[in-house]
């Protein structure tokens, strides 16, 4: 089994290096094919491991030592257990599909080889993140996905906005990573190890304050990767990257790393329910907050990005309330339908020559039948309509909120479910239905390559049937996650809730469809309203970050350099040096060699020495009196 583990882990790395060799050379289809096959190999190995884990085994290997000093010992250790194998399956499934899809999507791009190198490197980092058996290994993957995300967001580096967004993402993640790093330090100094199993074994013996600090700092790390408020702005800007990247990194895998961390650290978060409640509340807030921004946005990819953000909020609610398996289940289901949605959006973008404004589309279903069906399917799943995947995972989260008596969180999530349905179908209606507005702008849409659609179809299948895995999945992961089931006691209440939610969501879909299917043009009146302005400007948060953080930082930096470093610190040094130099310069005339002036100086010197001698002699003679006088002064 170890062999499969290594194949699953390292074949993406091999791919990254292979494609990297051809990085600067012109496009070769070879890199795309080789990398996709390597990813497929990784997928197959993960599937084999899944089978092995389903039989009740786990695999744990220690490859080699990484860092060891003092009492610290960090190996490269990897574990395949019920949780990590779930993540591995999600990562390898989505990434294999995205790789194949990208062969078509990046067809005409000059950086084709480079793209595959980065994409495979990302998968490798993500696998390290989920498979590591210790916090340091997690951090390697954590930073590795950050690097790849930077490379891929800024993939079209000639675009100013893309490189800006890449830097923003990296730096914002770094802020969170500091929290993570501090969390790791706390774990080490309190438990003496960074291995998950050993550390979690010691944790129950620690005092609650320490545990809360560990919980907070690790969660700060999670907030950055999973783009939770207030570190969320990078995710929407990250949409400047190629669309397959958005599908893989910024929807299905990397952004869920934070959820994975909380799930992985469940023995820790179980002991500090206060922190869990905070996580859940923040999650509920982000769910609604992000969904509200998606309502009015006019950028197809940003709408989907906000939707991702909102769904991450759902996952954190589940994880925070202790329903780790539910969080992980939603993570999985979400990965499938959200990746599908993004890849569909990629097709639309290609068809529309990279136009992102759905107001300029409309009626595309005639030209793009396949994409239309796939995206509609994904949206239905996202909205949580029975019997698609979203229904099973999202409804479970709502039930968790309800059963644990957190009614505020429950109602927020319920409303958000309606908003989700609304913005999803607003998008579908605007893109695929109604008049063919694109003709006004001179676009000539065409359907994507057939193999791209075929590559997407497994995701569609999974988005439909993922709900049926629920029992198997539950039996598997609850071997290591808390085995809490959430049942509403009264059957009537349960039916009312489920049906009520379904009807509510259907109504939202219907309303969105009705409102936007015959969309004629922008509603000028509506756009003048305050709430619209707030939402379209993302609550003015990016603006405030720019005004109150970036700009002052830039200005302060310049002041530090030009005013403090040059005018104060350095000037002081020069001033001292100049003082000595000037003193020498001014006294040099004393040594002019003129006999009479030399004699004069000699006299001055003699007088000075004599008077000093006299003064000193007097001081010695009257030492007692002087000290008496001085002590008198002191008293």
């Amino acid at each position: 089994m170890e062999l499969y583990l290594y194949i699953a882990l390292f074949s993406p790395l091999v791919g990254a290096l292979f494609a990297g060799v051809f990085g600067a050379s012109p496009k070769t289809l070879l890199t795309g094919v080789v990398n996709s096959s390597l990813l497929f190999a990784s997928f197959v190995s993960s599937a084999v491991l899944l089978g092995y884990v389903l039989d009740g085994h786990t695999v744990h290997v220690e490859m080699m030592e990484w860092m060891a000093t003092g009492n610290l010992y960090i190996p490269f250790g990897f574990v395949v257990d019920q949780v990590s194998v779930t993540m591995m399956m999600v990562v390898t499934t989505v990434s294999t599909i995205v790789h194949i899809y990208s062969i078509g999507y990046m067809d005409h791009d000059k950086g084709f080889n480079r793209f595959f190198s980065y994409l495979s490197a990302f998968v490798f980092s993500m696998m390290v993140l989920v498979m590591s058996d210790n916090f340091a290994g997690l951090f390697i993957g954590w930073e590795g996905v950050g690097l790849c995300s930077w490379l891929l967001i800024g993939f079209w580096y000639h675009k100013e906005i893309a490189t800006w967004a890449a830097n923003e993402a990296f730096i914002m993640n770094r802020i969170a990573d500091l929290g993570m790093l501090i969390g790791i330090f706390l774990v080490y100094w309190n438990t003496g190890t960074l291995q998950y199993d050993e550390a979690f074994k010691v944790m129950p013996t620690l005092d609650t304050n320490t545990l809360i600090y560990i919980g907070i700092f690790l969660f700060v790390g999670a907030m950055g990767k999973s783009a939770q408020f207030p570190l969320h702005t990078w995710l929407a800007d990250a949409m400047e990257g190629p669309t397959p990247v958005s599908a893989l990194i910024h929807a299905a895998t990397m952004v869920t790393a934070g959820v994975y961390l909380v799930v992985r650290a469940n023995p820790l978060y179980d002991t500090i329910p206060e922190m869990g409640l905070f996580i859940a509340s923040l999650g509920a807030f982000v769910a609604m907050f992000a969904a509200s921004m998606a309502l009015v946005n006019r950028d197809m990819k940003r709408i989907i990005a906000y939707s991702t953000l909102s769904q991450l909020g759902y996952m954190f609610v589940a994880a925070g309330l202790g329903a780790y398996w539910v969080a992980l289940f939603h993570l999985m289901a979400h990965a499938f339908f959200k990746a599908l949605l993004f890849l569909g959006a990629g097709n639309v973008m290609h068809a529309m020559s990279d136009e992102l404004d759905p107001f300029k589309m409309g009626g595309l279903r005639k030209q793009m039948k396949g994409t239309f069906i796939l995206m509609t399917l994904a949206s239905v799943a996202l909205a949580g309509i029975f019997p698609l995947a979203g229904f099973f995972s999202k409804d479970a989260i709502l039930e968790v909120g309800f059963v644990t008596n957190h009614y505020v969180i429950y109602s927020v999530l319920l409303i958000t479910a309606g908003l989700t349905a609304f913005y999803s179908f607003r998008l579908i209606a605007l893109i695929f239905h109604g008049e063919e507005r694109y003709k006004l702008f001179g676009f000539h849409p065409h359907e994507a390559y057939k193999f791209m659609l075929i590559a997407m179809s497994p995701l569609a299948v999974l988005a439909v049937i993922a709900g049926s895995f629920k029992t198997t999945y539950f039996d598997m992961v609850t071997q290591i996650l808390p085995k809490t089931e959430y049942h509403i006691h009264s059957e009537i209440v349960e039916w009312v809730m489920i049906l009520g939610t379904q009807i509510f969501v259907m109504l939202a879909i219907f309303y969105a469809y009705k409102k936007y299917v015959n969309f004629k043009g922008e509603d000028k009146e509506f756009e003048k309203r305050l709430c619209y302005k707030i939402l379209i400007n993302q609550y003015y948060i990016p603006y405030m970050y720019e005004e109150f953080i970036s700009k002052p930082y830039r200005e302060l930096s310049t002041i530090f350099w030009k005013k403090v470093d040059l005018k104060v610190v350095d000037a002081t040094v020069d001033c001292i040096a100049n003082g000595i130099y000037k003193a020498g310069e001014n006294t040099r005339e004393m040594q002019d060699g003129n006999l009479s002036s030399m004699l004069r100086w000699m006299v001055v010197g003699t007088v000075l020495l004599l008077s000093l001698a006299v003064a000193f002699g007097m001081a010695v003679r009257y030492a007692d009196e002087i000290s008496a006088v001085l002590s008198g002064l002191g008293a």
């Binding site: 390697i140 000639h158 490189t163 990296f170 770094r174 802020i175 830039r554 530090f560 470093d565 610190v569």
Partner: protein, 516 residues
């Protein structure tokens, strides 16, 4: 050969440099390369022969110079100095090999070989006077390199560099003399041997004064805030080779000396000054990172980034536990490799365009993809990405200090944020975007000479990031014995609690004498 391998390492380059005067000027570079390769091979052999299980000094040699005052030519190395010596010979080698067309090549090669002698000498010296001699001698070649091959402001920069560091060293010399005097008071014999000094227990107030005297000498060399302003000038005016060696090796003298002198000799003072120094380290990290962010000249960005990283090294050193000190020694190596490489990289673009202003560039990634790739890797190493060399040192340094103070480490940890800010924004300015300047459109990518210098550095940066064990283990062993000695020697209660007691009794060295 093993008995005198250190003397060979120290004096071979000097002898070769003197022979260099008779070498024909056209073959000077080839001669320099040959000498530095031999030197590098000897230093590798040193590593090979080095017993990693021994924590104390190895390859010791002793020749009496002034017996009345106990001044000996005493050299030896342990895990802490070994790798810095190897790094010094490595950088001299690739530095000479990558030299382009320079005027007066012969003089430059000879100067570099002399510089190499002083560098190896400083890190191998175990006698304070020998140490001081090499420490001061190292200024001369560097003064000459900046003054003769530097930019327009070279005279100002080189004189500033020389006088500033020289002034600091004089204070340090006074400290050394006082230390020897105290040793004489306690034992009745004169000795300048550092190892003998280690065994002396000093009262706390003496420790504080001596610590301060040594501190001024070391702090200017590191350079620590607010003594850092010579560095931007020196880097700004120095030729590429000068900057590379200055950043990679010469700055390490200061941080190395803290571990060699200040910590084991004055453990109580080290604990006493721990927080003030930690605050200086935080200022170095954040303040200079912000100054780096404001720079317009890419070489200045790298220069200020050096100071910022030195802040982390200082912090790790004053963590006073094995994790932190090992991390800081490792980071010395890491920073040497990475900043050396970054200065090489800046030199590459300066050779082509004769400007270092970032506003002159933009879009270089598409013109010079290989250059951009290596620059990108080194930038990421500098930012402290895991699996690259700097991360190991940074992680351990911060981890170590966390045991002393949470808040300080949290503030110092912003290094990973502010570092990313200035590095990424500079990278963006120079490499991303469209090529706007016509002069940049046809720049050639790296040539073979540059690749000789840069590829090995890249390989080392990755190798030691993934597998730091070969050098982390010896460092760890030697650091353990330093920490043990410190704990054993310390007299105040606070120092006893701040410096951990290690279980491994085999490494114990008993202090001998005590000043009353």
């Amino acid at each position: 050969m093993l008995d005198h391998i250190l003397s060979l390492l120290i004096f071979f380059p000097a002898l070769a440099a003197m022979m260099g005067f008779v070498v024909h000027k056209d073959s000077a570079k080839a001669y320099g390369i040959a000498v530095s390769i031999i030197e590098f091979v000897i230093s590798l052999y040193l590593w090979f022969a080095f017993d990693t299980n021994v924590s104390g000094m190895q390859f010791m040699e002793s020749i009496s110079i002034v017996p009345t005052f106990g001044i000996n030519y005493l050299v030896g190395i342990d895990g802490i100095s070994l790798f810095i010596i190897i790094m010094a010979s490595f950088f001299t080698m690739i530095g000479i090999a990558s030299l382009g067309d320079v005027k007066k090549m012969k003089n430059l090669v000879i100067t570099l070989l002399f510089l190499q002698m002083t560098m190896v000498g400083v890190f191998a010296a175990l006698d304070a006077i020998v140490f001081y001699t090499f420490w001061e001698l190292s200024l001369v070649p560097m003064l000459y390199i900046i003054g003769a091959w530097g930019g327009p402001l070279r005279i100002y920069a080189s004189v500033k560099f020389f006088l500033y560091t020289f002034t600091g060293s004089l204070v340090m010399l006074v400290g050394m003399l006082f230390m020897a005097f105290l040793y004489n008071q306690a034992t009745g014999v004169w000795s300048f041997s550092i190892l003998e000094w280690y065994r002396l227990i000093l009262p706390e107030n003496y420790q504080l004064w001596l610590f301060a005297a040594f501190f001024i000498g070391f702090a200017i060399k590191v350079p620590m805030f607010p003594f850092h302003t010579w560095l931007p000038y020196a880097h700004g005016q120095a030729p590429t080779i000068g900057s590379v060696i200055l950043a990679a090796v010469l700055l390490k003298m200061g941080t190395y000396a803290f571990i060699r002198f200040s910590l084991p000799m004055f453990p109580d003072a080290a604990v006493f000054f721990m927080f003030p120094i930690a605050i200086i380290a935080i200022i170095m990290i954040i303040y200079t990172a912000m100054v780096a962010y404001a720079q317009e000249d890419i070489k200045q960005v790298v220069a200020y980034s050096s100071i910022s990283h030195m802040g982390v090294i200082i912090l790790g050193t004053f963590a006073l536990n094995v994790e932190g000190i090992t991390g800081s020694v490792f980071l010395m190596i890491g920073h040497g490799i990475v900043s050396g490489a970054l200065f090489f990289l800046v030199g590459v673009i300066y050779d082509r365009r004769h400007t270092k202003m970032m506003s002159e560039f933009g879009g270089l990634a598409s013109v010079m993809p290989r250059y951009a790739t290596i620059f990108g890797i080194m930038m990421m190493a500098s930012v402290g990405l895991p699996l690259l060399i700097n991360f190991v040192g940074e992680f351990l340094s911060l981890l170590g200090f966390y045991n002393q103070s949470h808040i300080v480490t949290l503030l110092a940890g912003t290094a990973i944020i502010v570092g990313a800010i200035y590095m990424l924004s500079s990278f963006k300015k120079a490499f991303f975007g469209e090529v706007t300047n016509e002069k940049n459109r046809n720049l050639p990518d790296l040539n073979s000479k540059e690749i000789i210098a840069l590829v090995p550095l890249t390989i080392i940066a990755v190798w030691l990031g993934v597998y730091p064990k070969p050098i982390l283990d010896p460092i760890n062993n030697s650091v353990k014995s330093v920490v043990m000695l410190m704990h054993e020697k310390s007299i105040t209660e606070e120092a006893k609690t701040r410096i951990p007691l290690l279980e491994d009794k085999t490494l114990m060295q008993k202090p001998q004498a005590e000043v009353k």
